[in-house]
Symmetry: C2
Amino acid sequence: MFAKTPEPPYYAVIFTSFRNENEKMEYAEMAIQMVDLAKDQEGFLGMETARNEIGITISYWKDLESIKNWKNNSEHQLAQINGRKIWYDQYFVRIAKVERQYGFENS
Amino acid sequence: MFAKTPEPPYYAVIFTSFRNENEKMEYAEMAIQMVDLAKDQEGFLGMETARNEIGITISYWKDLESIKNWKNNSEHQLAQINGRKIWYDQYFVRIAKVERQYGFENS
């Protein structure tokens, strides 16, 4: 489902990545753990993720402080280190302030 | 590949969607046409897309003016109408100002 985000402003962390072929099981386990862990963080608003060749994960946060705290979370730090050492060929992070939103639903 | 975006600030349009089963060929053709058309627009900076259950397409733009012009482009308007009428169960659009970015590449 869509992340149920509040009225803007709030923040989005756009994480795009290319995986290698290493440790598919371990990577999948880490990914699940990180989603569970992120959900427990102060200021976490939701997450959306899809991967074809490129992987796109967007997490939504109340403010820059929450994003900083999540980046510095010790379990997340370990995942980041393993990400760079083992799982990712490349990744890119963009931090963006959501200013406007609207949706459509077929009835 | 990653969108090759310039130094922030610039804008991201985060388009998330759920497809139905209608007109898969026509949808795929429209999607390709819209990417080609977007690339020709003033202020277009890049695009990244992936779909599993949820589809995530992020397009990057120089400013809000470029985004408005793209939204109002007549061929894109027709695609939006068909999207609501035929192809999408739901979609959600977020417009966000990218403030910071950094990347990692395995050597």
